[in-house]
Symmetry: D2
Subunit: 345 residues, 4 copies
């Protein structure tokens, strides 16, 4: 069985393992105050062209999301997200467990638009006589790539930034798969642009070559205040914080992060191409490492006998959409096998 | 500078790193549902002689504590702990952040006694006319070894177990440094005895040879219900859960965990012996990897020029207690250097 | 200006005020443990034909909802409600502030159907491979009358009860306006039937003749356990609990509650009739004390010069739906004036 | 049985009941936005000489405390209080349920001193290397009168204010029994002085003549921001807010509040005097409406046959301290009876 069901089936990129081994018996400070974390932070600040930014290394995506959101909001404030947002549908109510409502808006491609944010804010706050009887939106949550593998373009992100500025909202980007977004063919964002438009975002490690770990970047000074207290309180502060610092120091060096993303995207492109050639349709068009293809149920069953995939949603009586995932670790020969299989469908 | 300030200054035991490297490119299921986690669980069940127990691998100690406690308590219920309890003084209010009060009782040696629990329960519930105006204790939190390096003996643990049974309380042991406790010269507990007396406990990995990770063992079936939901919600479920499973599979194999604990204790014994020979007093007597010794402030300053230590508390005008820590990773030659230094004091 | 904007514009029914005055200088126990609360509980138990039920008097609806839901759910569990549910849209995230997500389903008339609950439960739990990554529904929230003034019929409530039983869900009814529901012309429910089908519900006082206060009825013994602790914790336990007991003792005596509800409904019927005669349409058809009528914007403006109303939603360029409310306190002559005005539209 | 066990055994002062009756059928806006609330706010602003202050009328003391504290703190911040603080020992963990730890300091007379606050702040924050591993104090909670009936003098309050200013802490006074404090013989505080030194406080109504209700006064503009959202979220916003406004409008008129307090204190003085004459000792000396007297157990039993009292704590084998309470409603003839009884002890 070859697994294409997700992008965390393997361990870590070999250079990360090597670095962990090399530094293993060094004695360092704990809780992320070691020199590796510092060095990784400096690399990220440079790539982000944001010397004022602070970087915090957390163990996972849900941890990162709930910590940032809990740190950013007062009790009556809420987060805005697409209905497909990871925080809304895949984190067991982690944000609500910190006390905050998520206000969702419809989305077919996983993206949130500036005008949706504007409309919701007007409806909840500005044009609402009973505004104190609903939560007050304060943070806009987006994922890039989204849960459907689509990406934001600079124009879209800038508009979101503008509407957030207008209404005093924080713009927060969940970058669990950021490497695959930055490497996508139609991408026009960079870390520097993201840092310019977002108050907070995280650079995903777990799905892009690390054993574990996400680098939360807070560009807005307000959000930095006492943030480490909240990381500790929510259980996200590793005693041996260096194991995250070392990994990001490695990922952020010599363009490794981009290279890993590009590999995942290229593998996905080959699979998408194979489906396209055979005339299959996609639930959503995208260019990152997730493929949402629509197949007949019997085709899915056949595929499932040899390849791990992730069921997504039913389309009609006989068809469903499934998700296939590649990653930094996907082997060319496994893609060959899958492409061959697709040709035979 | 040689660090003796804590037991998480280094990375992981070499066999763990080796195993991570060997398994690195295998494809496994995510979220702790892989075969390594299963195998580690089986090893722990066997060592605990508790086939009904379920084992959950979490990223750190605060994460483990807040997840177990949040899962165990209804909103009005509270945890009982010694005033020195890690959840009370070193986790930035993590338990309170899940909504629960910690009721503390005094302790000079870090231990909680059955009679303290009994008395508190009577005071809060049984003999309280206004019982609904205070929280209802439901969980007893102990650490073994304690935050002061002392350990529970079987008799004490059994008594705690009995009082908990009598009043319907859960008994939960924080085993962040359990390896050092089990290896202590005066220890009479085993994993099997702990599993027999406790409803829940965790076997600490971070401080005993792992890169990160704690193995939460739930022996009480009630606590197992839907526990994984809560692990996910609190951000403790790693996508690549296998990296915890692999580490514990290794630690629990061939007595490695005990060996690592024994090394740490032996290193500490040498240091304790050196202090004792010079006539220094200890804040508390213990036989595990933490040493709480009382020194003159000028001696502490001198020591601090060459060795990392952890300030603990002031004793009088001229003396303070400091903590020195050894671990699985402590090098014999570094202990030699320290012992030499102590001789010169 | 005559107010028809809500059903809490006036104080309390005169017999309540009289009774408060009569009993004013009596000395009673505090915190709802007085004889008036006991008597009111007994009346409600009898009317509900539920001797096992416990009744708790709380200060308001949001307080009642958040207390019941917080008491009923473990951290990972969620409530299901119509998107129009009061807890979803009018309580400033009170339920989320206790840590729980609300899962919403669409509804045009404010009602939730058994099949919606079933479908959602299947989707979230039974047919979800990643069930631990979403919240687990545990409580179904309905309002009767709904926020749109519609009511549940016995058949509907029984079906909801059945689906809840099937999946281990609690059925909870918010009865803020219950008096107006029970008195509606097409109603076939009684307190006894509600008590039979629901695990918990509350009989609204604030909107049906009381100064303040809601009577939470817990028919399910599980929910009764330690409930008063949680009432206290959430700030819902009045020191002078008797002022709620006295009011409900009065409301539940000699059919007063039903009479007050019937008055409100009759007043609303007259207004609905007037609109109907003039050919106006309603956003939703109902027979309780809320009227959701669609008017031209200039008509609304004219109406607003003389009568208080509540804006509801825009229908098209020139029309909006507004809400008009009657209550136990609505004066016949004020309805005459409004009816006259409607005739002139 | 004559009750002296607490100060909420009766209903409300007659002028309050009269005013409620007179205004009963007036139509007003809901949720505390009526003219009575406005008028009561103005009276309080004037008495406080604080035109910038905002006043919010909440249903009870626990509600007031948890709402103010939840509104004031970020997740990692905590409240400082005496170990005897009502929020620590009599509110079922209400503050912790909003996510915040309470840091307590010892107190024999219920009071907190500026130097205790200073020392705690230094210990937790300024002189703590691991400051991020403990909560950060942000609010100082005091009660006046305290839970032991003692009061703060201006000098003490000013010092608390100064230390709070120095460290950026909010000073919050729980004034559940404020009327009895302001009327005490040795009192030198006024509402204006309290408003000057405190960022927030509440003027207790429930225990000083109202049916229910506390007036939360926020003098610090920071705390006012969006406060009503949080009142609503926590269930403290009454739909018929006017019933609180009307009561405080009456209490704050023509010195009624002070008069009611003075009556309670005078009744208590008579009882204290009777005990003193007989040579009984007090647990704590005070001049407000609570009396903490030490009696032999057989005396307590005898007293308990005729008078309601509140057990407080055991002193030795044969003696305990009990609490007796007077109030605005205490009848002179009941005090006569008790005094007569005391003479006979």
């Amino acid at each position: 069985m070859i697994l294409f069901n997700c992008d965390y089936n393997e361990g870590a990129h070999e250079s990360i393992l090597r670095r962990l081994a090399e530094t293993n018996m060094e004695q360092t400070a704990g809780y992320g105050e070691d020199l590796y974390c510092l060095s990784a932070q400096e690399r990220i600040q440079k790539l982000c062209e944001a010397p004022q930014a602070k970087v915090y290394f957390l163990s996972g995506g849900t941890q990162a999301n709930l910590t940032v959101i809990a740190a950013a909001l007062r009790p009556h404030q809420s987060a805005i997200g697409a209905v497909t947002a990871h925080i809304n549908g895949h984190e067991t109510g982690a944000v609500e467990a910190t006390g905050h409502k998520i206000l969702t808006v419809p989305s077919l491609d996983g993206k949130l638009t500036a005008s949706q944010v504007e409309e919701l804010y007007r409806e909840q706050v500005l044009e609402n006589d009973a505004f104190e009887h609903v939560t007050k939106p304060k943070l806009v949550y987006i994922s890039n790539p989204t849960e459907l593998g689509t990406i934001y373009h600079e124009r879209e992100l800038r508009k979101l930034h503008e509407v957030c500025q207008r209404y005093g909202l924080y713009l927060y980007m969940d970058g669990a798969r950021l490497g695959y977004g930055l490497a996508a063919k139609d991408n026009d964002l960079t870390l520097a642009k993201i840092a310019k438009y977002c108050d907070a975002f995280y650079i995903g490690g777990t799905k892009v070559g690390a054993l574990l770990g996400e680098a939360v970047v807070l560009t807005n000074l307000e959000l930095q205040e006492d943030f480490r207290y909240i990381v500790k309180q929510k259980g996200g502060m590793l005693a041996k914080g260096r194991i995250l610092g070392i990994q990001f120091d490695e990922l952020m060096k010599d363009g490794l992060y981009e290279k890993l993303g590009a590999h995942g995207d290229r593998m996905a492109d080959r699979i998408r191409g194979a489906f396209r050639e055979k005339g299959f349709n996609f639930l959503v068009e995208n260019e990152t490492n997730q493929i949402f293809v629509i197949l007949r149920d019997d085709q899915i069953q056949k595929l499932g006998e040899r390849f791990g995939y992730c069921p997504h949603c039913r389309m009609d009586e006989n068809h469903s959409a499934i998700r296939l995932c590649t990653s930094w670790a996907t082997r060319e020969e496994n893609v060959d096998t899958l492409v061959e299989f697709i040709k035979g469908l």
